[in-house]
C-alpha cells in the first residue's frame, strides 16, 4: 500500500515537472522603458493567452544604464532572448560583433515598413536588418493654445511670421520660447528642429554621400538664422537646462517649447490642465516646404545566443504586426512605423501627417556611428555659438574637420 502510494506520487511529480518543462518556454524581454512596464505586460498577457506554452518576462533597466547592462549581459551570455535595442550607431555597437540575429529573412513583415525606419536597424557592413523598428520620433514646436488664443495669435507658417509672433508674445510679458542652451543634447534638438527648412530636403543625402560637408553655405546659413531666435529664448538662456525649459512651458510661463514628440506624455504628466498643440518648424519663406526632422527610436531584436530562438523570432514577428502596432499606439502614445496603424490621438495623427514631409535628423541618423560623432561635435559648439563666442562658419568647419578624422567621403 505504502509502496504503491509512493510510486504514484513519484509518477505524478515526474508528470507535472515533465509537463511543465514541455509546455513552458520561458523567454525574457529586455527593455529600458521602465515607465511602460504595465502596458507591455498587458500586451504580453494577450500574446501568452494566444500562444499557450510561451511565457515572456518583461525585464526593465533604467534608460541611462541600459547600454551598459546590455553590453555586459551580451558579452557574459546572460542577456534576454528578446532585446530592445537603439537605432543607428548605438545599434551597431551590439549588432556589429554578432550578438544579434539577422531578421530580414525571418520577419517578412519588415518588407512593408518605411525605409527610413528599417534603415535605422540595418547594419551598414552587411546590409542586413537586425531589429523590428518600434517608434519614430519627430522634432516639433509645442505651443500653448491658451496663450495663443488670449493674444489672438494663429500658428505662424513662415520664419518672418514666427519672429513676429514671438515678438507679440514677448511684448505681452511672456517668454516666447522656453528653451535654453545648458543641456547639450537639447541644443542639437533645437537646431535640428529649425535648420532643415533652411538647408532643404536634398542636404541630408548629399552630406552623407560626401558631395558636400557642414561648411556648405546652406548649413552655415541655417545656423546663422538660429541666432535670430536669441531675443525670444528664456532670459539668461545660457543657464536654462532641459528640466527648467520643460517646467517653463508646462506651467504656462513660456508660450512655446522646441522638442521631440516624446514630450507629449511629459507635458501631460507635468500639468494635466495645460492646453497645448504642435506645429512643424516654420518655412523659410511662403510657399517653401515645411520639413520635420525625424528618426527611428529603436527596435526589437533577437539575441543570437538565445536558447529559444524560434519562439523569440515568433514573438518579434508579432511585434511587427498591425495588431501590436495598434496596441502600441493606443496604449503607449508613440508613433509606430508599422503600416496601416491608425492614430486616434489627434496629436499623434498630426505627427503622422508631418512625417509625410520628413528629413532624417541629420547628425543622429547620418553621423553617430563613430567617435567623434557629429552629435558630439555640434553639441560641444552650439552653446558657444549662441553665446556669441564662435560664429556659425567656424562651427561648420570644426564639425566637418572632426568628422573627417574618420569619414572617408569628407577627406577628399
Amino acid at each position: 500500500m505504502k509502496g504503491t502510494l509512493r510510486t504514484l506520487l513519484i509518477a505524478l511529480l515526474v508528470a507535472v515537472i515533465g509537463g511543465l518543462a514541455l509546455a513552458q518556454t520561458k523567454l525574457t524581454f529586455w527593455s529600458w522603458r521602465v515607465e511602460d512596464a504595465d502596458e507591455y505586460n498587458q500586451i504580453i498577457a494577450d500574446y501568452q493567452a494566444a500562444h499557450p506554452g510561451v511565457e515572456i518576462e518583461f525585464v526593465t533597466f533604467q534608460a541611462s544604464d541600459y547600454a551598459t547592462a546590455l553590453s555586459a549581459g551580451l558579452s557574459a551570455g546572460e542577456a534576454g532572448d528578446i532585446l530592445q535595442v537603439r537605432a543607428y550607431g548605438a545599434f551597431e555597437t551590439v549588432a556589429e560583433p554578432g550578438f544579434l540575429l539577422p531578421l530580414d529573412d525571418k520577419v517578412p513583415e519588415l518588407q512593408d515598413f518605411p525605409e527610413l525606419a528599417v534603415n535605422g536597424e540595418r547594419l551598414r557592413s552587411d546590409g542586413r536588418v537586425y531589429a523590428v523598428p518600434f517608434a519614430s520620433q519627430t522634432l516639433l514646436i509645442y505651443y500653448n493654445t491658451d496663450t495663443f488664443d488670449q493674444l489672438g495669435l494663429t500658428p505662424p507658417e513662415t520664419w518672418d511670421e514666427f519672429l513676429a509672433t514671438a515678438q507679440t508674445i514677448k511684448d505681452a510679458g511672456i517668454i516666447p520660447i522656453a528653451n535654453g542652451t545648458a543641456t547639450a543634447w537639447m541644443d542639437e534638438v533645437f537646431t535640428g528642429m529649425f535648420a532643415p527648412n533652411f538647408y532643404g530636403p536634398e542636404f541630408f543625402d548629399e552630406v552623407v554621400a560626401g558631395e558636400t560637408d557642414f561648411t556648405d553655405e546652406r548649413f552655415v546659413g541655417a545656423l546663422a538664422k538660429l541666432l535670430e531666435l536669441r531675443p525670444y529664448m528664456a532670459p539668461d538662456f545660457a543657464g536654462v537646462d532641459y528640466a527648467t525649459a520643460q517646467n517653463l512651458f508646462a506651467n504656462g510661463l513660456a508660450a512655446m517649447f522646441v522638442g521631440g514628440s516624446w514630450e507629449i506624455a511629459n507635458f501631460r504628466d507635468l500639468n494635466p490642465d495645460l492646453n497645448f498643440d504642435i506645429m512643424p518648424g516654420p518655412a523659410a519663406a511662403a510657399g517653401q516646404p515645411r520639413l520635420v526632422s525625424s528618426f527611428l527610436d529603436g527596435g526589437y531584436a533577437v539575441n543570437a545566443a538565445s536558447k529559444h530562438q524560434q519562439e523569440a523570432v515568433e514573438f518579434v514577428r508579432f511585434l511587427a504586426t498591425k495588431q501590436f502596432g495598434q496596441q502600441f499606439v493606443d496604449l503607449l502614445s508613440n508613433v509606430s512605423p508599422i503600416p496601416g496603424v491608425e492614430f486616434n490621438d489627434p496629436l499623434l495623427a498630426k505627427i503622422n501627417d508631418f512625417n509625410q514631409n520628413a528629413t532624417p535628423y541629420v547628425f543622429l541618423v547620418g553621423f553617430r556611428y563613430q567617435s567623434p560623432t557629429g552629435s558630439t561635435l555640434i553639441q560641444e559648439r552650439l552653446p558657444g555659438m549662441f553665446a556669441g563666442d564662435i560664429d556659425p562658419a567656424q562651427v561648420g568647419r570644426e564639425v566637418t574637420d572632426g568628422i573627417a578624422t574618420y569619414y572617408q567621403p569628407f577627406q577628399d
Partner: protein, 323 residues
C-alpha cells in the same frame, strides 16, 4: 586575547604547548590576513590589471578585437580631437586642485586655527561647518543647482535684492563661470572635513608650547607660523594628498550639476566625466570604447599614483625633520 584562550585549551607539556601555540598563531594570522588580501586582489589588483590589458586592445563596440599595442594611448594624447579633450579635461582638474587648496583648505586652516583657540561656541561652529559633509552629494548637487537656476534660483534673487543685479547671471551656463561655480559648491560641501582634521592636529599640540611662546613675547602670527603650522604637518600632508586624489578623480558633482558632456561646450569637463563618456558612451550617441576608456583610466591611475608617492615622500620628509 587569542593567545590567552589558546593557553587554556592547550595541554601543559612544554613542547606541544609551543607547537600548538605557534600553529594557532599562524592560523590566527592567516584568518586575519587572507580576507583583506583576497578583497584587495579581487577588487583592486584584478580590475587595475584588466584595465591595463583592455587598454592594449582594439574594441569593436563591446567585443574585444585585435591587439592594439599603445595605439589607444597614442590616440588619447596625440590625435585630434582627443588630444584637445584630454588636455582640456586635465587642465580643469589642475584648476580644481589649485582652487580647492586655496579656497577650501586655506579657509579650513584659518577656521581650525580660530576654533583651536576655543572661542565661545566652538562646538556649535564645529557642527555647523561639518554639517554639509554629512549630506548626500547628489542632494547637495541638486540643491545648489536649484539655488543657481537663473530664473528661479535664490542666488540671483539675493543678488537682485541687495542691489547687485549686475552680478546676477547664469552661473552654470557660461564658460567663464561654470567650472568655478562647481568648485565653490564642492568647497562648501567639503570645508568641514579639512577643518576637523586641522583642528584635531592643533589639539594634539601641548598647551605649554603656546604659553611659553606667549611668555617670550611671541605675537599671534609668530605662534601660528612657528608652532602651529610645523606641528600640524602630518594633518597637512593627509589633506594635500586627499585633495589631490579627490580633484583628479572628481566626477560626482560635475555629473549631477552640469552633466556628462561637461557643458557648456566642455567648460566643466574633467577626466572623470571624459573617462565615463569614452568607455560607456555619451548621452546622445552611446558609442562605447572600452579600449580607449581603459587607456584613459590607466593614464589617470599612473599619474595620480606617481604624484601621490612623490608628494607623500616630500611632505613626510618635512614632518620627520621637524619632530
Amino acid at each position: 586575547m587569542a593567545d590567552r584562550s589558546s593557553n587554556k585549551s592547550s595541554p601543559p607539556a612544554a613542547g606541544t604547548f609551543r607547537l600548538g601555540r605557534r600553529a594557532g598563531r599562524i592560523l590566527w594570522l592567516a584568518c586575519l590576513l587572507v580576507p583583506p588580501i583576497l578583497f584587495f586582489v579581487v577588487f583592486l589588483v584584478v580590475p587595475i590589471a584588466s584595465a591595463l590589458i583592455y587598454s592594449l586592445f582594439e574594441w569593436q563596440g563591446i567585443a574585444r578585437a585585435g591587439f592594439a599595442g599603445l595605439a589607444n594611448f597614442r590616440q588619447l594624447l596625440f590625435e585630434q580631437p582627443w588630444q584637445d579633450w584630454t588636455t582640456n579635461a586635465f587642465w580643469h582638474n589642475v584648476i580644481v586642485f589649485i582652487t580647492l587648496m586655496i579656497v577650501q583648505n586655506g579657509v579650513a586652516l584659518v577656521l581650525a586655527y580660530v576654533l583651536g583657540g576655543e572661542p565661545r561656541g566652538t562646538r556649535f561652529y564645529q557642527v555647523v561647518f561639518f554639517l554639509p559633509v554629512t549630506l548626500a552629494l547628489v542632494l547637495v548637487g541638486f540643491q545648489w543647482k536649484l539655488f543657481l537656476n537663473p530664473l528661479f534660483g535664490v542666488v540671483n534673487k539675493l543678488l537682485d535684492a541687495v542691489g547687485l543685479e549686475a552680478l546676477s547671471q547664469p552661473w552654470l551656463g557660461q564658460t567663464s563661470t561654470a567650472l568655478m561655480t562647481l568648485i565653490l559648491v564642492n568647497a562648501w560641501r567639503w570645508l568641514g572635513f579639512p577643518t576637523i582634521v586641522f583642528l584635531a592636529g592643533i589639539r594634539t599640540i601641548p598647551r605649554e608650547y603656546f604659553e611659553a611662546a606667549r611668555l617670550d613675547g611671541a605675537n599671534e602670527w609668530h605662534v601660528a607660523r612657528h608652532i602651529t603650522w610645523p606641528l600640524i604637518a602630518p594633518a597637512v600632508t593627509i589633506i594635500v594628498i586627499l585633495t589631490f586624489i579627490g580633484s583628479f578623480n572628481w566626477f560626482d558633482l560635475p555629473f549631477v550639476m552640469a552633466g556628462l558632456d561637461g557643458p557648456p561646450g566642455k567648460a566643466t569637463d574633467v577626466l572623470g566625466l571624459y573617462f565615463y563618456r569614452t568607455a560607456f558612451g555619451e548621452v546622445s550617441a552611446g558609442l562605447q570604447d572600452f579600449g580607449l576608456g581603459s587607456a584613459l583610466a590607466v593614464l589617470m591611475f599612473l599619474f595620480i599614483l606617481a604624484v601621490s608617492i612623490v608628494w607623500t615622500r616630500v611632505l613626510r620628509g618635512r614632518e620627520v625633520e621637524l619632530s
